[in-house]
Symmetry: C2
Subunit: 113 residues, 2 copies
DNA sequence: ATATTGCATAGACGCTCATCTATGTGAGGT
DNA sequence: ACCTCACATAGATGAGCGTCTATGCAATAT
């Protein structure tokens, strides 16, 4: 894989292979899984609304009525975000409070090629 | 949408609504479209390999044989990335050279909530 | 106890997407 | 002219995803 050695005499061939750290398939799949969790307009709005809330947490009720989607759909998206590690769920009494996991978003930002 | 005014006396209600910039639906859809283009293992590998190449560009031939996928599939993924603005295509003679658009990735990093 | 409220789960449906095979196109070489 | 090579496009297919309705469950209120 390292074709930029001294004499790359062959100009007739396609010499352009990667040099650095070509990102293995497993690493790529892991990153893609995390990105997929965020690559949805509704989930981006949820993250935005939660991170914009006081103390960066919110319960489902407010989110549901603000997004013009049914409550099960919101619950589904929140579960996706929790499973992906971007949110934590904390059931306090009658309501479920979701909070941002800031470090997780940082990781995403940093790993983006 | 601003429920944190002076006297939020109602402790019996779910008061947790967002305060800052709740990210409109259109903004969310635009961001999600960009993220979807990147949220795929194969496309992440392509970006990694291209950005790791000398002069940050590569032709399809090398990418195809390195990824264990058919050439049309690679071509498809490259088109997705070009359409999303992450790559540019430059056909020079027999080969097509794809190059990274760094600012586009920066935008993504910055806009991530 | 019973009813109500807040949320999660289950199942179904339509649409998008990643991949393939087959074919088209255009540039170079003989 | 013809053939070959590098790549793009078209169409098909199967898997995955976002959304819904219907239902379950747990905590509070009456």
């Amino acid at each position: 894989m390292e074709l930029i050695d001294g004499n790359q005499s062959i100009a007739d061939d396609c010499v352009s292979m990667t040099v650095g750290e070509p990102l293995s398939r497993k690493e790529a799949e892991t990153l893609a899984t995390a990105l997929k969790a965020v690559a949805d307009p509704t989930r981006l709005q949820l993250l935005s609304m939660i991170s914009g809330s006081p103390s960066s947490e919110a319960c489902v009720c407010g989110l549901t009525e603000a997004l013009d989607l049914t409550q099960p759909t919101i619950s589904h998206h929140l579960k996706v975000l929790v499973d992906a590690g971007f949110l934590t769920r904390d059931k306090r009494g009658k309501w479920a409070w979701y909070a941002i996991v800031p470090e997780r978003l940082d990781v995403l930002r940093g790993l983006l090629p």
